[in-house]
Amino acid sequence: MKAINYKFREKLNSTIGGEAHGFCYQCGACVGDCPAAMYSPEFNPREILLSAILGDEEALTGENSPIWNCTNCYTCYERCPQAVRPVEVIIALKNICFEKGTNPLEVKDIVDSVKDAGRTVKITSLSDRRRKELGLKEVKIVPMEELRELFEP
């Protein structure tokens, strides 16, 4: 049996949203209505929480982590009797992946788009044309100098 990695658990405890992972008593209430679990036997929020309690850093934040299959529907947040907010623990784990650089590249592209232009979807000549045709005003410019300040501590 593997030893519990307390160092990783401390890391999770100090990441916003990860604080309550230790309160999970493995009841499985999060699993029954989880759409990702319903459609994929490999995804199981109770098992993700068990790995978190054991501090299994590689399983959760390695390249093949199952956490990216969460649909972010927040049903587990509704169901959990311990207020663990499993989806928030999963998002905290994703934050740790970003720190380590083990996140999927597609996710980074979307974030880079916000860093570059302040939006997840970039304005194109087609989007401008469509707005004009519908009688809408031009898209307002995002003050990027302000936004960039906020990315740094």
Partner: protein
């Protein structure tokens, strides 16, 4: 009543027909939309939140600050923007330590989050501020012969502790709003299933989309009605792709609630941008005329 609209990225850039529908219908309801300067992406509650929650909260707080400075409540038209801005507003108004961290960053750009305004999805405003009766009174052409299957989406309702909109397991808000414009609401088995858009796997959302579409078809609905551009993104193009892949006709028109409302208020299909949808909406337009 005055509100500051927050249209976000998806609607503004990808689905401006939704913005056109909101602006035109809100005017008929006597809502005054005051456009404020300087909003950015909310930022998105899935991928951006997954990178760094503190930066996510800070950028959300900056958007909220803009509305605070104007002294106006924010209304959102996208369930994603609703999730981000409501969650940020909820946590920052209750957790002083978190607010301090966020305000330390905001100070660099001369802003401070104070927690003085509310953020709500516009459908909540229709139900709670204007009232169903007022929506009903704005209708000139009730959608009597249109059967709508609702897709709720997740982030209008959950987490219910924060959103406080409706019962997330058996909501009624959209039934009542569709009822107000005369549409026949058809219940279907998967109406509160997630659209799956946030999931990084391809297989999971595909199976979910398949189940939602077949559940709708089985119910006898003429179309799907929804309130979120991300769900729309998943189902509009998604149903065409899936129909091709499976060699099965899964197509069904999808409209945003405010497009239905606009049609009921007498606006033309073009006014609410139905021509911009990937899945044809001709059947719905025909039913309007009959």
């Amino acid at each position: 009543m005055k509100y500051a609209p927050f249209f976000g990225c998806m609607i503004t850039v990808k689905y401006p027909q939704m913005e056109a529908a909101v602006r035109r219908t809100a005017e008929k309801l006597g809502m005054e939309l005051v456009d404020l300067e300087g909003f950015s992406c909310c930022p998105d509650p899935i991928f951006f939140k997954a990178t760094d929650k503190l930066i996510w909260l800070t950028i959300a707080a900056r958007n909220i600050c803009i509305a605070e400075e104007a002294g106006l409540d924010l209304i959102t038209m996208c369930s994603g923007c609703t999730a981000t801005l409501c969650e940020a507003n909820y946590h920052l108004s209750r957790e002083p330590e978190l607010r301090e961290k966020v305000n330390k960053r905001l100070k660099k750009i001369g802003k401070e989050y104070k927690g003085t305004i509310s953020v709500r999805h516009i459908v909540t405003v229709l139900r709670d501020d204007l009232g169903i009766e007022k929506v009903k009174k704005s209708v000139k052409r009730p959608l009597n012969n249109i059967k709508v299957g609702i897709h709720y989406g997740c982030h209008l309702l959950k987490p219910s502790e924060i959103m406080r909109v409706d019962d997330p397991d058996s909501p009624t808000i959209l039934e009542n709003l569709f009822g107000a414009i005369g549409a026949q609401v058809i219940h279907h088995e998967k109406q509160v299933l997630c659209c799956g858009k946030a999931c990084m796997s391809e297989a999971i959302p595909e199976k979910m989309t398949y189940d939602v579409l077949t559940s709708l078809k089985k119910s006898g609905a003429d179309c799907m009605g929804l309130i979120c551009p991300t769900c729309f993104d998943e189902f509009d193009l998604g149903q065409i792709k899936l129909s091709r892949k499976l060699k099965q006709d899964l197509t069904i028109p999808i409209l945003y609630y405010f497009q239905f409302l606009g049609l009921a208020q007498g606006l033309s299909p073009h006014d609410v941008g139905l021509h911009l949808h990937k899945t044809k909406t001709d059947e719905i337009v025909k039913k309007l005329a009959s």
